[in-house]
Symmetry: C2
Subunit: 182 residues, 2 copies
């Protein structure tokens, strides 16, 4: 049967986010392949972790592109960002978690680029008088990633319905950061 590299990396990210100490054998089982096959495609645990980090960065960047966060009304851009990020919340949780499974410069750089774009969106909203100034863009970024990751876990744990998750994150996040409220 065919080896679905992307699916294996998704499964690996999901497991490693919850159990960073998972062995290669456990990862292989979670991905539905054998340990030998995993080793054929990734020459070592380190290579596997780097590959899933790189895929995560790539897919997150694609989601930001799809959300067109540099365009239009910042409030709507934040909503689109949340909507688009949900399907890759597993990768976001992995990358954001900084669980130090990786210490790869190119992943740090990739993450920094993503963070910069999101931070710029929050700053843009503040400059337009839409978002509160007293909540720093740095904090708003951290909060957003934490809520998206948390919602991914909540969906996985059945605590939140998948179709509700973007709205729940969006309402809480935007409700807290919009200006013009008491």
């Amino acid at each position: 049967m065919t080896f679905d590299r992307e699916q294996v990396l998704r499964d690996a990210a999901a497991l490693l986010t919850r159990k960073a100490t998972a062995s290669m054998d456990e990862i292989a089982k979670a991905a539905g392949v054998s340990r030998a096959t995993l080793h054929r495609h990734f020459p070592g645990r380190d290579a596997l972790v780097r590959a899933l980090g790189a895929l995560g960065i790539e897919q997150l960047a694609e989601r930001l592109d799809a959300a067109r966060i540099e365009e239009g009304d910042p409030v709507e851009a934040v909503r689109r960002l949340i909507e688009e990020a949900m399907p890759v919340s597993g990768f976001l949780a992995f990358l954001y978690g900084e669980n130090q499974l990786y210490a790869v410069e190119e992943l740090d750089e990739g993450w920094a680029r993503i963070d910069k774009r999101v931070s710029a969106l929050f700053r843009r909203g503040q400059e337009q008088g839409l978002f509160r100034y007293d909540l720093s863009p740095a904090w708003l970024c951290e909060a957003l990633y934490a809520l998206i990751a948390a919602s991914g876990w909540s969906v996985q744990d059945g605590k939140v319905a998948s179709r509700d998750s973007a709205r729940m994150v969006g309402e809480l996040m935007l409700g807290g950061m919009l200006r013009g409220r008491s």
Copy 2:
């Protein structure tokens, strides 16, 4: 010199939250003791993890008590809760993260009790017409833990000033969940 059990567990929690794969030697170094001493006080990695989980549960419960979250105005109770939880955000991040370093029933039970009290606070606020109904207590709990944990990391990373962290969490959280807006 004296062995400060609580400080060692705090240091261990801080390291393990960021690096779940940290070895006993790394944990010992982070705590400023030798691996032999760590093994003298905790008969194994498993015992250490259980001990820090138990301490975390105990201290979080004490913080909830100090915050008196069952009393008075729910909005003020949430503020007090956030304020009191900040000093133990490291333990919260560890327990909430469910990184599966532990699978100890008594820790799960302890966490479930804490979660129940926090959930009851959100429900009480909803019943009094103060908090939005469309954001479930389950989600509000997850979001709160995620934001408190994130703020702990942000302080540690220098992205947020320690004195600002409770306010940042509180404004975002309460701003998003209060009724009578937009």
